[in-house]
Amino acid sequence: MTARPDRHATFTIERTLPGRPVHAWRFWAEPALKQAWSGCHPDWTMLEEAQDFRAGGRDFSRMRDTQGTIHAVDIRYLDLLAPRRILYAYTMHQDGLLLSAGLVTIDLLPRGAATGMVYTEQLTVLAGDMAARRAGTAEGFDRLVLAMGHAPATLH
């Protein structure tokens, strides 16, 4: 069996968050606080939403972007250990097409008056058929270039 490097990835993001783990925990546990930082597309239309922050609970959102594409994120909380660890599985769909599935572990470690957050994600990326993947690649590069603060160069 050979893992496909274009399908599977694991990565970790580490941050020091201001406030103790009990403070950080509220920003996942309380729907209004969670929404305030995790919802990043003010120009998208929310079509369906559910938040149930408990083991076995589902955190679901379905949104329409300005181009009419439907984006769905479906989280299933697998285990919650307040205020130390959050473990969930999730999928991302675009227009009904499964883009990715992931397993996320968030550790919140006491660090004096602050919290050391370790976000670990194990991902399977299914970008669909090759046409969808190619389109996604071009779009991905465009966004990447934008994110880097450069205007894309053009061919003459």
Partner: protein, 118 residues
Amino acid sequence: MREGALHTEPARLDQLFHALADPHRRAMVTRLAQGPAAMSELAIGLGLALPSALKHLQVLEKGGMVASTKQGRTRTFALDAQGLAAMQAWLAEHQRQLGAGFDRLDALMRATPEKEAP
């Protein structure tokens, strides 16, 4: 999991960002996203001399963004056929969005008074 680490270790991402830091190379990637192209076509499109175009393409190839094949005297470049480039771009964008979210989380935690310990 080694393969996954390959794409996300900082050195790898540095290579990706270095590869895309140049406007000529970004233009090449934009062009190749439409389909494969011969080196000469890429050079002419950008008004570059062939050796200069080759240097840029080698940086992109080293960064895992493109792959090349040679038939006779023609070298053709394409976005990496295994989808590694797609995966890298997808992952970079995914991680950028996560990072932006954690920036907002940080700001919101600072702006929200911490409850007293029980």
